[in-house]
Assembly symmetry: C2
Homo-oligomer: 213 residues x 2
Amino acid sequence: MAPKLYYFDGRRGDAEAIRMLFKDTGIAYEDVGVSEETFKQMDAAGDLLFGQLPMVDFDGLKLVEQPAILEHIAQMADKAGKGTNKYLGENENERSTARSLCSAACDLRRESLAMRKEGSNDAKRKFKADVLPVWFAALDKLAVASNDEDKGLGAGVHFTFGDMAIFEAVNAITVALNLSVIRPYPNLKEWHDKAVHRAAIEVHIQGRDDAPW
Amino acid sequence: MAPKLYYFDGRRGDAEAIRMLFKDTGIAYEDVGVSEETFKQMDAAGDLLFGQLPMVDFDGLKLVEQPAILEHIAQMADKAGKGTNKYLGENENERSTARSLCSAACDLRRESLAMRKEGSNDAKRKFKADVLPVWFAALDKLAVASNDEDKGLGAGVHFTFGDMAIFEAVNAITVALNLSVIRPYPNLKEWHDKAVHRAAIEVHIQGRDDAPW
């Protein structure tokens, strides 16, 4: 049975990187839009470990939390030999680094979500002045090593589940604030642009509906 | 070379579950207290991926983010056959569940840290009324399966790195608010009490200095 991704209907949010990884790995999945009412029913039925979405049902294993879900997909992909990529990295150290990126992506997403929810120009200005430079400068450094034959951030040569998490977080910020915010970070921009043009990602981004995120 | 844990001097914070897992697995490590000045130097030198502590230097691999660090330690322990426990769980599904617990522990810790920073009785009241019941009720359900021969939350029989992350987050809340807050959740309380009495954890908790967290 194909994995089923449950998330709030019409929203990208914490589910979007999961969708992208399913597409990039070529693993068929079902995208289930959840209404507020269904959400309450699922929670009451004990389907959601901590009352949160996204949840992915992997043949009975009902997994929550984006990092755990992404790594589970990466593992399925590598085991099935899908594509030429190694989504878990080449070895345990690269896999640990991917996990670190994944957690960091959660932090970055949380900060950008707060800016988006607040919604004011002032919130955007503050985010651009205080939050974005710290993250993008760090990611720009990591991207230096990635821009020859490498595709993954840091020392790894593979585009891992951690890269996908960071990519979606960064891409969401460029959508919210304009692509120009990434220009002062040329290495990050090059890495981001390469990821945007991964075939399955490009098709996904062009085909997705508008969303309030 | 023993792994080196870098964290703010005299603080428990996001390093405490890492310390506990090092102790529980019996892996020797060095606890390096970092002053504000040293922190700035380390950040400027590029030692901290996203300008954050804790960082653990595993023989040159400088890893940040608690979930990534905990799983890396679990992996070292299982590979070295330290103790009779399987810190990664019995199979990939249990390992994915442990990751999910680990991410959830970050969320819970963030909420309890906000309460602690705010510090007022009002903040404590709000946390007790709104945040704590949601988390503790969910964990209490998970603990039901754990209280026979089981030691890990959920379906797993092992006390994994995910359990350690949740245990520290819950234990920190009982220290901040009083152990009585856990009493309405008998399964969680039983699980928590068993974890407190794991030999290495007990020694660690009794031996640690007071800290503002």
